[in-house]
Symmetry: C2
Subunit: 403 residues, 2 copies
Amino acid sequence: MASPTPKAITSSSSQPSSGSNPQQQAGLDASRLTYNFTTTPSPVPDEVSANRGDLTVATDHMITATWDISTGWARPELKPYGPLQLSPAASCLHYATECFEGLKAYRGYDGKLRLFRPDHNTTRMRLSAHRVSLPTFDPTELAKLIKILCAVDCPRWLPQDRTGSFLYIRPTMIGTHAQLGVQSPKQALLYIMLAFIPRLDSPAGGMRLLTSPQDTVRSWVGGFGYAKVGANYGPSLLAGRDALREGFHQTLWLYGQSGECTEAGGSNFFVVWRRRGDGKKEVVTAPLDDKIILDGVTRRSCLEILRVRMGGEVEVTEHKYTIGELFEAHEQGRILEAFVTGTAYFICPVSQIQHNGKNIHIPVGHDGKPGDITGRVKGWIHDIMYGRQQHPWGVVIPEGQAL
Amino acid sequence: MASPTPKAITSSSSQPSSGSNPQQQAGLDASRLTYNFTTTPSPVPDEVSANRGDLTVATDHMITATWDISTGWARPELKPYGPLQLSPAASCLHYATECFEGLKAYRGYDGKLRLFRPDHNTTRMRLSAHRVSLPTFDPTELAKLIKILCAVDCPRWLPQDRTGSFLYIRPTMIGTHAQLGVQSPKQALLYIMLAFIPRLDSPAGGMRLLTSPQDTVRSWVGGFGYAKVGANYGPSLLAGRDALREGFHQTLWLYGQSGECTEAGGSNFFVVWRRRGDGKKEVVTAPLDDKIILDGVTRRSCLEILRVRMGGEVEVTEHKYTIGELFEAHEQGRILEAFVTGTAYFICPVSQIQHNGKNIHIPVGHDGKPGDITGRVKGWIHDIMYGRQQHPWGVVIPEGQAL
């Protein structure tokens, strides 16, 4: 065998040198945060007008932190929300070296501000970053930064009288290295923004899903469907747009020859049916083993809380099921409910699935209200998010103290 | 069947309205280009020092054009190369709504400036843009803009005495719509930059490839491997980095249970072997039917020119072949040459393939020079690019006239 000389290759291709000393890289450190408050705070819109326009309305501040392969993470900065300056050659604009998270800040009925299981988001973000060669970090430091941004902007943007409301939190990481060579970026930017997004959990008449086009597959075994990376989204927009034009809300993504049901749009998908055979009530969602679907925090929470609170009543399972099995169950009158889960859609009842021109209609309650089990799990988690029930999943954020 | 009401969905989800009138959208129009020349032109480095650093060195100018769903393409602008201002909520930073092209401007031995089959790049860019829900455009207008940028910057940056040299041209399109909702972007930016990139076609001893990790698949049937979209690159960097650390230059991407050979890094991959059975010399590369590999301009040109000029001598075929077949051919002494093709790597001889710890060593000429067929096709195309042979593929760019 020829003896490859990594050094020669490295120098000619200018890839990140394995010789760089990771010990010298500073870790992400929330305690080093600097504060630069806006001197021109924006007026805070109400929720409806904030979501009316075409542009996302963000709060006054964002937190940013830059990373360089030789020095590691610089001091994070809290500063006025505003445009980013990026080189036209920045890695993220060409090679999709980007990942994000989505979580919400909830204004509880008790006036307190809460996050919902934020550690799951920050841990997943580290995993997503790794999948697209972005730098690693300590998730607990990211969680601290998220909490600080909320503590700074939520008192005014999600005030105590807006109980039952939320803001959306978007931590993002992008490769900023200005290098057109295809390689792992040597510079990156982490930023966290807070913004309004619409409530999407109760469309009139329930959510309508159209199965994915025959020639389009969202994610595949060996790919990156499990990671929250930009690369999962852009290529899925066409199918979503076509579904919308045909009067549906989202794409139900099928996988493989057999048509396994995987995700719905950017959400996880659940069915409640009576099992073939014993007729027992079962809540089923696709499993994570193949790494083709996102390990959703809401998905996980639904499974866990259903197992604890309805374990005797219903089977709660993660296994593969196909669109064919759904149709069979539909024809036999065994489908009871269906819903999608995610941070943006929360827990949203599904009323229709169309596949190859044939329909499954699924009962939704009066005026699109969720069915029995969907409604119960939605209520339980809502109560935790908004502090009606004190629960470890609802993490209270102290306000006006972090500074 | 329930009667979906697309209008209600559209208004609540703020997706691009199908009611927008495409007739009112202006098309991309190179004749409307405005000129804003730099007043501080940069010193032009030599090729070696330009490629020595970690950052891409671009020329003095870039061309940009913005697009909005309601008005279409604005007047393109030629202006000083410099940073882009993007909203932190910009679609491209979250959802990989981004695509690009790569081509080169060649300074011919006759002093003339040429592009190589640029229409194939601009047509492919339209296809790539569509795949990630970016706006369409007339490829001939993009080609005109590329030529104008070359005409403006090449006289100084790729001067007449740098015969046999090139600059890299990177047309890019990104979704700029500042909207965190997952949807087709309603605003976009097209930009074209010109930059130095290193010569990659003659690594010492030939290019060494490591087959892709068992658990990683670059592209899949129903995906977007055929499109030059960012989403194909970020998720492939990890495997590339690992290959590099083990002393290889690129990943040889395998597909499916049988291990079909598809692409090498970001290049197409060719093998020259003696066919099993009749022993006839064959040049083979993976076919495009499955849409899992890029329809490379260099790939296509190699196939076409080999068919025309060596048709009697060798079979030139596009069909599937597996890593197992490569090993079998290797054991039987039937492998003659291998090479990768692409704009960045041009035509680069491959000397080694490692798979599961076992090696195929492929003869390369003296000092890593290409073998017989690789060398001939490389020479032919080189001569067209640099004007040694007048050929329709080599498109001469008039300089100092476009303004």
